[in-house]
């Protein structure tokens, strides 16, 4: 990185540290921070969408739709995250490949499962075996987003389901009295008012989601915890220009600070959103706002 970094063994103190912290390997760690933030930025709205659909389905008038919604919430909430992440992603990946296999290779005669091996024709591989590494990484990332969204979507669905029921009955009855249809009542009265009841639960989920990102490594995405472990481990002089003893404590301390700052910022932002949503609502906090303003 810097011009004086050609012979790290001769350096000391701050100079050595500045070279050490800018090796290509460390850059991978900084890049992983971006990966984690990107994952959160994509996963949170996706999970919320899953949750919204799940909650709407769970309170649907149509029985089969209701069963689907309730089963989704119950099954995903009941399975340990780690089991879900280990099993489901491989299953999902194989399901995608199997579908593509049926479409692209109708003449294929060998079985897809041969003993332990899962074999689809080469055109059905996802991503294709000869595509560049970044494609494999992006695909892995997409699978991660989808898995996170499904898991956290189930929890969000349960929160939203409760929030929808918490909206005062009088509001809905009034809407009906004004002649609104079921759909109109749902979109114009229920949905705008439910967020204030959903937010405490959703903010909890957001916090858990932030802290759950190390699960990414189970999916083959190299996240910051992986790099902290890899970079912090003791390095012998034969294998690196920057030998050092076990420094994982410092790396994990840095992670701790990163996560703490991140959750603190989230808390501040969520508090502001809560204040906004509470405005004009028929809740205790809304009442307090009104009195303070008066």
């Amino acid at each position: 990185m810097f011009s004086f970094c050609t012979d790290p063994a001769s350096l000391e103190g701050a100079k050595w540290l500045s070279c050490y912290l800018t090796t290509v390997k460390h850059m991978s760690m900084y890049y992983a921070v971006v990966t984690v933030l990107l994952l959160l930025a994509i996963t949170a709205p996706t999970a919320l969408a899953f949750g919204f659909v799940g909650a709407s389905a769970a309170r649907s008038q149509i029985a089969p739709l209701r069963w689907v919604g309730k089963t989704y919430i119950a099954v995903v909430r009941g399975i340990p995250d780690i089991a879900f992440f280990l099993f489901f992603v491989i299953a999902l990946d194989q399901a995608f490949e199997y579908i593509r296999h049926r479409i692209k290779c109708p003449d294929w005669e060998e079985p897809v499962r041969q003993g332990n091996d899962f074999i689809v024709c080469t055109a059905a591989k996802l991503p294709l075996g000869n595509s560049p590494q970044w494609m494999h990484e992006t695909y892995g990332f997409m699978l991660a987003v989808l898995t996170f969204a499904i898991v956290f979507g189930a929890f969000a669905a349960n929160v939203l389901f409760g929030a929808m029921r918490a909206v005062p009955k009088g509001q809905l009855e009034t809407a009906e009295a004004y002649g609104m249809s079921r759909g109109q009542t749902f979109w114009r009265v229920l949905v705008p008012q439910m967020w204030v009841y959903a937010l405490p639960g959703l903010s909890n989920l957001w916090m858990v989601l932030i802290k759950a990102t190390p699960l990414l490594f189970l999916l083959g995405v190299e996240d910051i915890v992986y790099w902290a472990r890899e970079l912090g481990g003791a390095k012998q002089p034969q294998f690196t220009e920057y030998p050092h003893p076990d420094w994982r404590m410092w790396y994990f301390a840095a992670l701790l600070i990163f996560y703490l700052c991140f959750t603190k910022v989230s808390e501040v932002v969520l508090d502001r959103i809560m204040a906004k949503l509470t405005h004009g609502q028929a809740t205790a906090a809304g009442e307090a706002q009104r009195k303070a303003a008066a």
């Binding site: 491989i90 074999i119 494999h136 083959g220 012998q236 034969q238």
Partner: protein, 240 residues
């Protein structure tokens, strides 16, 4: 969001292309945390004995190869489900693994496993011995009188000894030797265990052609002595 759209578009384009030959690129899966066999160098690239062997094997077998890292725990499941084509991760050939995957010819001699401890007088028969999960050493310790303490990465097993959590760690001698050399606190014990039958490449059982090509390349490296040169350079046990 823009990135997301771009990447999905890229994936869709990639998905619509069809290639006849799937093995035009052979993906080599390794752990990247087990020097001198495989580790990540300062540039974040896979390096070590297996990097050099793997690159040479691919050149001899006329394959285009790509390196991928995967954690040790799930290295076999990801091979059989097709995320990469070859395991090259210091994996000893054992009967148990051979039931699930196939192995090429061995490219190292059986390396004796050694104990690393803080002092020479630890009780190996009744003490706590650390080993990496899913290794031959872990299986070995489980069958002795010692209490087995498992860790996901080799690095953590050594850290456990230094922290006093375990009395000793059992691992390949070639992995422990550089640590004992560099670190004044720990030492190798005299007692060694001969387990395992040499390190081989793992391939899917249905991939016989690839296995034969790689075995032939290993045999040719053995024949002209180039494998011995690498074994000596990286210090991974005896020469052939």
């Amino acid at each position: 969001m823009k990135n997301l759209v771009l990447t999905t578009a890229a994936l869709a384009v990639a998905g619509s292309m069809t290639f006849a030959d799937g093995h035009s690129v052979v993906r080599l899966g390794t752990e990247g945390a087990y020097p001198p066999y495989n580790f990540l160098n300062d540039d974040g690239e896979v390096d070590g004995f297996e990097r050099e062997v793997g690159d040479e094997l691919c050149a001899r077998a006329e394959l285009t190869c790509e390196w991928v890292t995967n954690e040790w725990d799930s290295i076999i499941p990801n091979l059989v489900s097709g995320n990469y084509d070859v395991i090259i991760a210091g994996m000893s050939i054992t009967d148990e693994r051979d039931e699930v995957i196939d192995f090429s010819e061995a490219y190292t001699q059986p390396d004796p496993s050694a104990y690393l401890a803080l002092s020479a007088d630890v009780d190996l028969a009744g003490g706590v011995v650390a080993a990496q999960t899913g290794t031959i050493q872990a299986a070995f310790v489980a069958n002795t009188g010692a209490t087995l303490l498992e860790f996901a990465t080799p690095d953590e097993t050594v850290a456990a000894v230094k922290a006093g959590e375990a009395d000793a760690v059992l691992a390949d001698k070639s992995f422990l030797q550089p640590i004992a050399d560099a670190d004044g606190e720990v030492m190798l014990l005299e007692q060694e265990e001969l387990i395992g039958g040499g390190v081989g490449l793992g391939v899917r059982e249905s991939d016989g052609e690839l296995r034969d090509a790689l075995s032939a390349a290993i045999a040719s490296m053995k024949a002209d002595g180039s494998l011995n040169v690498l074994i000596e350079k990286w210090g991974v046990g005896a020469a052939f």
